[in-house]
C-alpha cells in the first residue's frame, strides 16, 4: 500500500506545472507536501486522483500503475482526495454530502458503520445531519469535506490545504483529526501552505518549488531547517544565522536541485 511517484510531469496547455516530481508515501504514515502558491502542490494531488492527465511519469499505488486512470477507478482503489477549498455540495444536506462519499460502495452495513464513525469523529456534524451544507461554518464545512472523503473508505487520504481560511483554533482541530484518522490506519498525504503545523504532524515532508521537489526530509528535521524557516515559517534571515549551504541554494535560485536533510527528528 505504498504510493510512489516518479518523474511526474503535468502541464496546462503548454505551461509546465510539474517538471518531474518524485515522492513516496509509505503505508500508515503522514506525508506532507509544502510549498508556496503556484508551486504545483494541488496539481500533484489532482494528477494522483485522476482529475488531470499527466504528460509523463509514473504513479504507482500498491504496485499498480494508476497514472491516467479516471478518477472513479482511483477512488475505487482507496485513494481519495479532500479537494481544496472544501467544495461541499451546498444545496444538499450534511447526510447527503456524506452519502455521496460512499457513492461507489454498495455495502450498506459498512456505509452505516462508517457514517457512525464520521459522526463520532465530528460530533458537530451529527447535530446537523439534515442541515444544508451551505449553511455550515467554514470549519464545519471542512469537517464535512473530510468526513465525505472518509465515507469512501480510503486507504490513502489526500488533503488539499485543509487549513485554508480557517480560524487558528479550528485549524488545530483539523490537525488533531488528521492525527486521529492516521492512528485509525489511514495513510495521509497532506498538502499545506501552513508549513509549521503540517510539518509538526508529518512523518516525512517534501518541499515543492515551481514544479520540482527541492527539499525532503523527516518532518521535525525540515521544521528546523534554516531555508525552510526563512521561506515558509516566517523567520527573518538576520534573526537566524543561515547556513552557507542553504543560503547559497536560495540565492542561486536554481530549481530541481535536491538535497537531503540529515537531521534527526528527535
Amino acid at each position: 500500500m505504498k504510493l510512489e511517484i516518479k518523474d511526474l510531469r503535468v502541464s496546462y496547455g503548454g505551461i509546465r506545472a510539474l517538471k518531474g516530481v518524485n515522492l513516496t508515501v509509505d503505508e500508515g504514515s503522514i506525508v506532507t507536501l509544502i510549498g508556496a502558491n503556484g508551486a504545483g502542490k494541488s496539481t500533484t494531488l489532482r494528477a494522483i486522483s485522476g482529475l488531470l492527465k499527466p504528460d509523463a511519469g509514473q504513479i504507482t499505488y500498491n504496485g499498480e500503475s494508476i497514472a491516467g486512470f479516471p478518477a472513479k477507478e482511483i477512488v475505487k482503489r482507496g485513494v481519495v482526495m479532500v479537494p481544496e477549498g472544501r467544495r461541499v455540495f451546498p444545496d444538499m444536506t450534511v447526510r447527503e454530502n456524506l452519502l455521496i462519499g460512499a457513492y461507489l460502495r454498495s455495502d450498506r452495513a459498512g456505509i452505516d458503520q462508517d457514517l457512525k464513525y464520521v459522526m463520532e469523529l465530528f460530533p458537530r456534524l451529527s447535530e446537523r445531519t439534515w442541515q444544508l451544507a451551505g449553511t455550515l461554518s467554514g470549519g464545519e464545512q471542512q469537517m464535512l469535506a473530510v468526513g465525505r472523503a472518509l465515507m469512501a473508505k480510503p486507504k490513502l487520504l489526500m488533503m488539499d490545504e485543509p487549513s485554508l481560511g480557517l480560524a487558528p483554533l479550528v485549524v488545530k482541530d483539523i490537525f488533531s483529526i488528521i492525527r486521529r484518522v492516521n492512528q485509525d490506519g489511514i495513510t495521509v498525504l497532506l498538502i499545506e501552505q501552513n508549513a509549521n503545523a503540517s510539518l509538526r504532524v508529518a512523518d516525512y515532508g517534501y518541499v515543492l518549488e515551481t514544479g520540482s521537489i527541492v527539499l525532503e526530509g523527516q518532518g521535525r528535521a525540515l521544521l528546523e531547517n534554516h531555508s525552510i524557516q526563512e521561506a515558509y515559517l516566517g523567520h527573518r534571515k538576520s534573526a537566524i544565522p543561515a547556513s552557507g549551504k542553504a543560503s547559497s541554494e536560495e540565492t542561486s535560485g536554481k530549481h530541481g536541485r535536491k538535497y537531503e536533510v540529515s537531521m534527526n527528528s528527535d
Binding site: S49, L51, P70, A71, K72, V75, K76, V80, M81, P83, R87, V88, F89, P90, D91, M92, R95, E96, L99, I100, G101, Y103, L104, D112, L115, K116, M119, E120, P123, S126, E127, T129, W130, A145, R148, A149, A152
Partner: protein, 367 residues
C-alpha cells in the same frame, strides 16, 4: 448524545406511514375528480386544458431532470419533443390517412402501412428521442454552461429543419394530420403519474444524489468517484425520453403536428414552467405546470377587446404573452428560486407551515 446522533442514519423519519397514506388519499381524490369531471363537465375546452396540464407536467419534469437536478442548461427540449411527436404520430395514423396525407411524395416503407398500439408508439417515440439525445450529447455534453445551452439549442433547430426537409418521412412543411386522439384523461394523467413516480425515485436514489452532486460541484463530485460524462449522458437521455413521450402525447392531443410547433419558443414555454416551479423540485414543476397552463388560458381575455377605465381597445393579439412575461419577470426577481427552489412540498412541511400560521394567530391574539 451519540445515540441521538446516529438515529437519522436509518431514515426512520416520523410520519412516513402517514405521508404515504395521505399521498394515496390525495391521488385517489384526484382520480375521482378527473373521473367526475369527464362525466359532469360537458365543456370540451375545460377538459382539453385539464389534459394539457398533465402533458405539461411530463414535459416539465423531463426538463427539470437535466436543467434542475443535474444543473446542465440544455435548450434542446423542443427537438426531442418533435422526435417523439413525429414518431408517435407516424406509428398511430391509419394507413389510409397516411396515403391521403403524403401528397407530394409517398411515405417510405414500411411506415406507410405500419400502425402500432398507442403505448408502443409512445415508448418508441421516447426511445428514439433518447437515441437522438445520445448522438447530440456526445459533442454537447463536453461543453459547459452557456456554450452547452447554445449547442443544444442549435441541435434542436437542426432536428426541426431536418423534419421540414424530410418530405418522404415527415410530410415536410405540410405536417401530419388525423392523428388518433389517444391522449385521453387516463393516458395523459397516467403518464404524468409514472413520470412523477420515476423522477421521485430517481432523485432520491444514490444515482440521483450523484446527479445533484454534479450540479453543485463537478470537481468535488468527480473526486468522490462520480464519473461526470456518463452521469450527464444518462440524465440527458432520460430527460429526452420523457420529452419524447410528452411530445407523443402532445401529438395525440393536438391531432395535427407540424415542424412549426417545435420552435425554440416551445422549449421556453416548458422552461418557464420549470423555472417558476423551482429548478430541482418535482412538486414545484407539477404545481407550476397547472398554474402556467391554466394561467395562459385564463389570460386569454387580454387578447380580446378590453375596456380599462376610459381606455378601450379592439383587442391586441399577444397582450396575453406580454402580461405573462411580466408575471414571470416578477417571479424571477422576487422568488429567484421559483416557487419551491430545490425543495419539495411534503406533508410534514405543510403541517409545519400550518402550525406556524396558527402560531402567528395566537401571538396576534395575545398582543
Amino acid at each position: 448524545m451519540a445515540k441521538t446522533a446516529v438515529q437519522p442514519i436509518n431514515e426512520s423519519r416520523p410520519g412516513k406511514v402517514v405521508s404515504v397514506t395521505l399521498t394515496t388519499i390525495l391521488l385517489a381524490a384526484l382520480a375521482l375528480l378527473l373521473w367526475w369531471m369527464q362525466s359532469a363537465i360537458s365543456d370540451v375546452y375545460i377538459l382539453k386544458i385539464t389534459r394539457l396540464c398533465a402533458i405539461n407536467i411530463t414535459l416539465a419534469l423531463a426538463m427539470n431532470l437535466i436543467n434542475g437536478f443535474t444543473g446542465i442548461f440544455s435548450l434542446g427540449h423542443a427537438g426531442f419533443m418533435a422526435v417523439g411527436a413525429y414518431t408517435t404520430a407516424l406509428l398511430t395514423i391509419p394507413a389510409k390517412s397516411k396515403e391521403m396525407m403524403f401528397m407530394i411524395a409517398p411515405l417510405i416503407k414500411p411506415l406507410d402501412t405500419l400502425t402500432l398500439p398507442f403505448p408502443v408508439a409512445l415508448a418508441a417515440g421516447g426511445l428514439l428521442s433518447a437515441l437522438f439525445a445520445y448522438l447530440i450529447g456526445m459533442p454537447c455534453l463536453r461543453l459547459r454552461g452557456d456554450y452547452l445551452a447554445i449547442a443544444t439549442l442549435g441541435f434542436s433547430e437542426i432536428i426541426r429543419v431536418l423534419i421540414m426537409n424530410a418530405q418522404r418521412l415527415t410530410n415536410g412543411a405540410m405536417g401530419l394530420r388525423s392523428i388518433p386522439a389517444n391522449a385521453t384523461m387516463a393516458w395523459t394523467y397516467g403518464v404524468a403519474l409514472i413520470t412523477i413516480a420515476f423522477m421521485a425515485l430517481l432523485t432520491s436514489s444514490s444515482y440521483g444524489r450523484a446527479l445533484k452532486a454534479i450540479r453543485e460541484d463537478e470537481i468535488a463530485a468527480e473526486s468522490m468517484g462520480v464519473s461526470l460524462f456518463s452521469h450527464k449522458m444518462m440524465s440527458f437521455m432520460i430527460s429526452a425520453f420523457f420529452a419524447g413521450v410528452g411530445g407523443g402525447l402532445l401529438a395525440a392531443y393536438n391531432g395535427t403536428i407540424g415542424q412549426d410547433m417545435f420552435r425554440v419558443s416551445m422549449t421556453y414555454n416548458i422552461l418557464m414552467i420549470v423555472v417558476m416551479g423551482g429548478m430541482g423540485s418535482i412538486s414545484g414543476s407539477v404545481i407550476s405546470a397547472f398554474v402556467v397552463t391554466i394561467g395562459q388560458e385564463w389570460l386569454r381575455f387580454l387578447d380580446g377587446p378590453l375596456t380599462i377605465g376610459s381606455i378601450h381597445t379592439d383587442g391586441v393579439v399577444g397582450l396575453r404573452m406580454v402580461v405573462f412575461a411580466a408575471l414571470l419577470l416578477i417571479i424571477i426577481v422576487f422568488f429567484r428560486n421559483g416557487l419551491f427552489g430545490t425543495n419539495e412540498a411534503t406533508w410534514s412541511g405543510l403541517w409545519r407551515s400550518i402550525g406556524r400560521m396558527s402560531g402567528h394567530k395566537k401571538r396576534g391574539e395575545a398582543a
